[in-house]
């Protein structure tokens, strides 16, 4: 009997939860704010679905009642992607070590 592809996706999902669990516990508490902003940015990979939705219109009408939601989602996710990664970068650039005593 064939295994339903859903089971494979579910396996990926469950294993990723465990990966996430161990990886996040190893994040140093002082970087918890950048952690939140970067998770924000990467969860906007939902833009992948938004792009498919946006391109679902045909060549005569780019905007139909379904693709317009895709385009809106693209804009929202793009705000998050650019905003999230850039603000994370800005924060991380501020974390400096003590200068060696002269």
């Amino acid at each position: 009997m064939e295994i339903d592809p859903l089971i494979f996706r579910l396996s990926i999902f469950i294993l990723s939860i465990f990966v996430g669990y161990y990886v996040v516990w190893s994040v140093t508490p002082s970087l918890h704010t950048p952690l939140m902003s970067v998770t924000n940015a990467i969860s906007s990979v939902i833009i992948v679905g938004a792009i498919i939705a946006g391109l679902s219109g045909n060549s005569d009408s780019v905007f139909n009642n379904s693709s317009i939601f895709g385009f809106l989602a693209i804009a929202l996710a793009a705000i998050n992607i650019f905003g999230g990664f850039l603000v994370t970068q800005r924060m991380l650039a501020m974390y400096k070590k003590k200068k060696k005593d002269k």
Binding site: V27, P29, L31, T39, V45, F69, I81, G83, L92, K97
Partner: protein
């Protein structure tokens, strides 16, 4: 156009890069590289999506335009936002993820053929379940984050909003969401889909309004987690590994942060979610109403005390963020260091309005991160330190948490500030903290209260050093 198998492999690659992005945050040295991995993963995911649809018609141009518009807004915000506003920014970003998930779900529901999910009115059962869960969680994330944003921004009062029958009402709505999803899947009715969205928006709103301002670290982490689960739900619908992996990562990350924050307050997760904390503590309030003598001083006294100390521990809290005192504080510390005084910073896990809030502010003020310590690392040092300088923190220093089993914060881990030889407490008035309880520390022999704005007081002390 590339094959479905090849694009699935690329999505896996970007999922792995996202894992490495989080892994990088285990230390500040590797964190910047981690962020780079995250960006790379995102570029791969987006490029592969374009290649796999193979659609470079006029629609493609519009996609680029929308990315460009959104991206410029995002970049503009990222460069302009002051570091003290990070909690609001993160809450705002969460709401966008939630809304994007809702929009993608709507689009997939209206035009399932574009996603290979069947025909309108006859969507594959599994996909419909995943879609409706993704949409519901996304909607809750959106409205919940909007409320969190308004509370953090001060547009909405930070105090808990409670009313009679709140919990039964929420319970009924949550059950009705499950019932709606069940009927939606059996009938495929689009009306039920819209009702589901409205009800989910409503519950997100109702769940967050009873939660008070200082519980925001938990709320933000929780919404972070929700945005992840919403993304994962959509990932299952679209059969996209990158989304499933990322959703799971973000979901567990937010859950862990919520757990850490709850532990920092010694409260259970449900206790925070049910809200209304600090509103009903009559017992502890009445006993502390009597006037007790406090010693108050000025910048001169504080400067004198610190000049004669050999080690100083600084305890920052939300008040420092409000007064934007981090730069003034850093200047004061520079002066102290010139006088060969050892200075370190002690950060309580729930100081501020989001996890790691204080660390970012201190980093912004150029405080080296190896001078900043977490509660467990530094708590034993208070006994050997000469001066503790408490700036904008309150409840997290209250010794009552260790001594009085009647107190609502009993059992909460606190910084052992009172063990210092002397304590300087910068505060605007004697008013109790958010928990609504008096801080015993104010009345200790060795405590000197400095009643002033945190920034102004710090600057005055620097002048007097």
């Amino acid at each position: 156009m590339i094959s479905a198998n090849l694009s699935a492999l690329f999505y896996l690659v970007s999922g792995v890069l996202f894992i490495l992005a989080l892994r990088g945050l285990s230390s500040p040295e590797t964190s910047r590289q981690g962020n780079f991995f995250g960006i790379l993963g995102m570029i791969i995911a987006v490029t592969v999506t374009f290649l796999s649809t193979g659609n470079f018609s006029s629609g493609f141009i519009f996609v680029l335009i929308f990315i460009l518009v959104g991206g410029s807004i995002g970049a503009f915000i990222a460069y302009k936002i002051p570091m003290t506003a990070m909690p609001e920014l993160v809450a705002g970003f969460h709401s966008l993820v939630g809304l994007a998930a809702v929009f993608v779900a709507i689009s997939a529901f209206l035009n399932p053929e574009a996603f290979n999910l069947g025909k309108p009115g006859n969507i594959k059962l599994g996909s419909l379940i995943e879609m409706s869960i993704g949409a519901a969680v996304g909607a809750i994330t959106f409205s919940g984050s909007v409320i969190a944003f308004l509370k953090l921004q001060g547009i909405m009062s930070g105090s808990p909003i409670t009313f009679k029958g709140q919990h039964p009402l929420n319970a009924i709505i949550l059950i009705s969401i499950i019932v709606l999803i069940y009927f939606l899947c059996t009938t495929q009715s689009s009306n039920l889909f819209w009702i589901l969205l409205v009800v989910s928006f409503l519950i997100g709103f109702l769940l967050i309004i009873p939660i008070g301002g200082a519980d925001m670290p938990v709320v933000i982490s929780m919404l972070n987690s929700y945005s992840g689960w919403a993304a994962a739900g959509i990932g299952f619908t679209l059969e996209n590994t990158a989304l499933i992996i990322t959703g799971a990562l973000v979901g567990s990350s937010g859950a862990i942060l919520s757990y850490i924050m709850c532990k920092g307050m010694n409260r259970s997760f449900f206790n925070v979610i049910l809200g209304g904390f600090g509103a009903t503590d009559d017992a502890s309030n009445s006993s502390s109403k009597e006037q007790r003598p406090v010693k108050s001083g000025n910048a001169d006294d504080a400067a004198f005390l610190m000049k004669n100390a050999s080690s100083v521990i600084i305890v920052p809290g939300y008040g420092m963020a409000v007064a934007q005192a981090q730069h003034a504080l850093r200047e004061m510390v520079d002066t102290l260091k010139k006088n060969d005084i050892k200075v370190s910073y002690a950060i309580h896990p729930v100081a501020g309005r989001m996890p790691g809030h204080m660390n970012v502010l201190l980093a912004e003020a150029n405080v080296p991160y190896d001078e900043v310590f977490e509660l467990e690392e530094i708590n034993n040092d208070f006994a050997n330190a000469d001066v503790a300088f408490v700036i904008g923190a309150n409840d997290v220093t209250n010794p009552v948490a260790k001594t009085d089993p009647q107190s609502p914060i009993y059992g909460m881990p606190v910084l052992d500030v009172e063990k210092c030889k002397s304590v300087l407490f910068v505060k605007r008035s004697l008013s109790p903290g958010y928990a609504g309880i008096d801080n015993d520390l104010f009345y200790k022999e060795n405590t000197l209260m400095l009643f002033a704005d945190a920034k102004k007081m710090t600057e005055d002390i620097t002048k007097n050093l």
